[in-house]
């Protein structure tokens, strides 16, 4: 083929009633490369991919899609898949109750006249799984696989469809470091076998690691395409994404750290369903006033489990351990008790656990402490409005007014609403579980500043994060967790990613300070 480009999207414009989501976007992907698309949330990346894959059919946008030298007019996902374009969404499209084999061939069953040939299907499944490096039995139910392996099943499914152009939307967002690396390696492996990939990711280090070219999209426009081989660093990408250079990724702060006021002793918790498994093993830690304490650990290490079990035993079965606050032991058997004792927990899953997406900003803001704005069980509507308005201004939540539904906000603004909700309870200790997950760079900076302000007010902050730079940049002290046990504790000033990673992956304690 003379044309070195497998895909050219030319001046794509996509409008929703009243809003231009994409305007004249151009994307050129070379055959056999890994092409990254970067942009803040809401920049239009996903919309562009939906145009490409036929989710938004031909006719609902303007511009041309040229795939393998041919102008394509996809009317549905089915048609784009037949052409060899497969998209793997952030939310995986697998059916938990079905087996790997059944999922692999769903919609593309092997067989004749509607009767499935299971023997051939099994063999083919084995073959596909081998190609993605998955050793599990093809009869395993999807629900028994971790997210990392599910991701691999999705890719195997794409391979079955004879994929030529694979689109991955935030493939590593839910994966831990090891799984991420495996997945990235696999994408590189596919490239060597001639599969072109488009990867959308917020993890700039990963993009730097595997991408050949990077196209940056901002406000529905193509900003530039960078050639990674000519030397591109994260700051360069960020500059393109936000249109300005972020001098420092973390705001400055001079910590004012007080005495220890919160202490957890010998905390031991059982898995809710499997009584032979301990998710927290004899964990001990302390938090001082005005201190940001980081918790590092790989996914599944038990960080969220620890946080939620402390927060009113909302996870697992409590076995033993004490919580001491201000020198007095407190019992937190319910979430209500935890809130009343000055704890707040910002969950890692905003949409499932943090917000009622049917609610307005106003109602979400006051949801955790209705008592404070009520008399005799009756909510004072005006006070409610005043509180919501106060936090909207304080956290600079971008929303036209507080009656606006939270479901329509961007991830960063939703997170600000969740933070408002917990700040309104006036807690002494905030547990923030992955507070910047799925949030774009600009909003992250603002969230960081909010976290630092909270510490500055003398509150204790527990910060759980999968991003080591974030932990190192914000925390005063860091604990590492591995398999439900605390393996290390060190001041942030003495920590570096390598040391942390070592403690996060082995039970052996480096000399405790």
């Amino acid at each position: 083929m003379s044309n070195p480009n497998i895909l050219e999207m030319r001046s794509i414009t996509k409008e929703f009633p009243g809003v231009k989501a994409l305007s004249n976007v151009t994307l050129t992907v070379k055959t056999g490369e890994i092409h990254a698309i970067c942009g803040e949330n809401g920049a239009g990346k996903s919309t562009l991919m939906k145009v490409l894959s036929g989710v938004y059919p031909h006719g609902t946008y303007t511009g041309d899609i040229v795939f393998e030298d041919e102008v394509m007019r996809f009317g549905s996902i089915k048609q784009s898949e037949e052409a060899g374009i497969v998209i793997i969404h952030q939310e995986l499209a697998l059916i938990p109750e079905l087996s790997i084999t059944e999922n692999l061939f769903l919609g593309n069953e092997i067989g004749r006249r509607g009767v499935i040939d299971w023997t051939t299907a099994q063999l083919r499944a084995r073959e596909l799984l081998d190609r993605v490096g998955l050793t599990d039995d093809p009869d395993t139910q999807i629900k028994n696989l971790g997210v990392g392996k599910q991701q691999l099943v999705e890719i195997a499914k794409a391979l079955h469809k004879n994929v030529k152009l694979l689109i991955l939307d935030e493939p590593t967002a839910a994966l831990n470091e090891t799984d991420s690396q495996h997945l990235l390696g696999l994408i590189v492996g596919l490239k060597e076998r001639g599969v072109t990939s488009i990867i959308i990711s917020h993890k700039l280090n990963e993009i730097e690691q595997i991408a050949d070219d990077i196209t940056i999209i901002r406000d529905g426009r193509t900003i530039e395409t960078l050639d990674v081989h000519q030397g591109v660093d994260e700051n360069r990408i960020i500059r393109g994404m936000v249109g300005r250079s972020l001098e420092s990724r973390f705001p400055d702060r001079t910590p004012h750290i007080g005495d220890v006021f919160f202490e957890v002793r010998d905390w031991t918790v059982q898995h809710p369903l499997d009584s032979s498994r301990l998710v927290c093993k004899n964990e001990n830690f302390t938090v001082r006033r005005g201190e940001i304490v980081g918790f590092a650990g790989l996914m599944g290490a038990g960080r969220t489990e620890l946080a939620m079990s402390i927060f009113g035993r909302s996870y697992g079965t409590y076995l033993s351990g004490q919580i001491v606050k201000d020198g007095r032991e407190i019992k937190l058997a319910t979430v209500r008790q935890a809130i009343d004792n000055g704890l707040a927990y910002v969950s890692e899953d905003r949409k499932q656990l943090g917000l009622n997406l049917l609610d307005s900003v106003k109602r979400s803001t006051v949801a955790a402490d209705l008592q404070r704005i009520s008399r005799g069980g009756v909510v004072d509507a005006l006070q409610e409005y005043a509180v919501a308005e106060e936090y909207r201004l304080k956290l600079r939540t971008k929303v036209p007014d507080v009656e606006y539904g939270v479901s329509k906000l961007s991830g960063g603004n939703q997170q600000k609403v969740v933070l408002s909700k917990w700040m309104f309870t006036d807690p002494d200790l905030l547990i923030l579980d992955e507070p910047t997950r799925g949030i774009d760079v600009g909003a992250k900076f603002e969230i960081y500043r909010i976290i630092q302000d909270l510490a500055q007010q003398g509150k204790g902050v527990i910060l759980i994060s999968s991003e080591l730079p974030e932990l190192l940049g914000l925390s005063d002290r860091i604990y590492t967790i591995f398999e439900g046990a605390i393996t290390n504790e060190l001041p942030a000033s003495q920590a570096d990613p390598e040391t942390l990673m070592r403690s996060m992956t082995s039970a052996k304690k480096d000399a405790l300070i």
Binding site: F16, P17, G18, V19, A21, N41, G42, A43, G44, K45, S46, T47, L48, K50, Q90, E91, D219, F311, G312, S314, T334, V335, R336, A338, I339, Y345, K351, Q352, L353, L355, N356, L357, L358, D359, S360, R363, A367, L370, Q371, S374, G377, V378, V379, A381, L382, Q383, Y385, A386, K398, V399, P400, E403, Y404, G405, S407, K408, L409, S410, N413, K421
Partner: protein, 428 residues
């Protein structure tokens, strides 16, 4: 918020409800012509309220059950069960009518506690618990009543078919009704004025004066028209007691769902139970009370109906659960929970009641009536679902857009973006 939304209680009020108000008006107009003016004849209006007040009362509880994400299939049987106990108490044990009513409420609460226990604490789905309840309490009704009708004394029938006593000079209208109407009008104006004053005092945004005037004006007009209808009936009739019971309950439950912590918690549990639990809401408590409350209201509906019918029979309440559920969904509640309003459900209940009444007036066959009501329910919900998937507030919502403020309009056009769509439009 736009004026109509403010009119119907903000939260959860969706275009489906505006659609239903228009549907309600349409049904009234169509049958008014079809029946040659019988529909809005005072006698008929009074009759509609007496005959179908049970739908109104049940819808009040059912909307909370559905908002919380459950369903109650047992209300008809529970109503019949309580009805027969009340009737027996008066007929066989010679209890006075007021003692029988208290007994009925207590029995309703006990039945509710029973169902609430299974739903909230054992976590059996409400569908199953109340399906079982439907059988259990229907059987209990027939066991107690020996599958026969038990008549109730005249004094008791007052709550079902009575009217408020009249007094004063002969004006050609019922003076009591006129007085009640005027008091209601005064209350409406006072509430609006007080709300404005408070908002101004708190320096909150005050809605434009014309919105206040139009809103209050519409409500006053409806009240006056209702006053006329109830007041101009045959001599000796006035506002039916059942309408007053239903009206008071509507105000109480409207307030409960909109203005109280408990109301908020019901929406929170239905909208996202996990998030509610992590915000300190005791989910079991909410589920228990929502289910228990439904049975108490079913008891009220059953007792009122016995008063209207003059006896408690073995087939009382058959199919009531369907009327109540239909009313709530026609009124804009979501099958998945978290969405719905008392005001909407009342409109839905009136739609179902007037439809049944209108079909009766034109002499439609009972079987055909059932089919038509079924189709109306299906179309109402399908219309709502379709509007949502189209990302529009609905046809009627769009027609009403000129009434909305600019910001709201922006919100409406942004709806095509689904929740999980990352390519969110930047906010103005």
């Amino acid at each position: 918020m736009n004026p109509l939304r403010q009119l119907f209680g903000g939260r959860g009020a969706n275009a489906g409800q505006y659609g239903m108000i228009i549907a309600l008006v349409a049904i009234v107009v169509v049958f008014e012509f079809w029946t040659g003016g019988l529909t809005l004849n005072p006698t008929n209006v009074i009759n509609v309220f007496q005959q179908y007040s049970y739908i109104l009362i049940l819808a009040l509880g059912m909307v909370m059950v559905i908002i919380a994400g459950h369903i109650d299939l047992s209300v008809g049987s529970v109503a019949a069960f309580v009805g027969i106990i009340v009737a027996q108490a008066m007929a066989a044990w010679h209890w006075s009518w007021w003692a029988a009513i208290v007994l009925g409420l207590v029995v309703g609460a006990l039945v509710g506690a029973w169902q609430g226990f299974w739903v909230a604490f054992v976590r059996v789905p409400a569908f199953i618990v109340t399906l079982a309840g439907q059988l259990i309490f229907r059987g209990a009704n027939q066991l107690i009543g020996n599958s026969t009708s038990v008549p109730v004394p005249n004094a008791y029938q007052f709550i079902g078919s009575g009217f408020i006593h009249d007094f004063g000079p002969n004006t050609g209208y019922s003076n009591g009704t006129l007085l009640l109407g005027l008091v209601t009008v005064a209350a409406l104006i006072w509430i609006e004025a007080r709300g404005r004053a408070r908002r101004r005092k708190m320096k909150a945004e005050v809605i434009p004066l014309w919105v206040s005037i139009v809103r209050t004006g519409i409500l006053v007009a409806i009240t006056l028209f209702g006053t006329y209808l109830f007041g101009a009936g045959q001599a000796g009739t006035s506002v039916p007691v059942v309408a007053i019971i239903a009206g008071v309950l509507t105000i109480v439950y409207g307030f409960l769902t909109r203005n109280t912590i408990f109301g908020r918690q019901v929406y929170a549990v239905g909208g996202n139970a996990h998030a509610a639990a992590l915000s300190g809401v005791d989910i079991r408590r909410v589920n228990f009370f929502v289910m228990a409350n439904m049975s108490v209201l079913a008891a009220v509906a059953g007792m009122v109906y016995v008063g209207y019918a003059g006896a408690s029979g073995p087939a009382d309440g058959t199919g009531w659960e369907l009327d109540a559920i239909a009313a709530v969904f026609v009124g804009g509640a979501a099958v998945s929970g978290g969405v719905g309003t008392v005001a909407g459900s009342i409109v839905g209940a009136l739609v179902m009641a007037l439809l049944a009444n209108g079909l009766q007036l034109v002499g439609a066959d009972t079987n055909v009536q059932m089919m038509i009501r079924g189709i109306v329910l299906l179309l109402a919900v399908a219309f709502d679902v379709y509007s949502k998937t189209q990302g529009r507030p609905s046809l009627i919502g769009n027609m009403l857009k000129p009434f909305q403020r600019q910001k709201d309009e922006a919100a409406a056009v942004q709806q095509p973006q689904s929740i999980d769509d990352q390519s969110k439009v930047s906010l103005p």
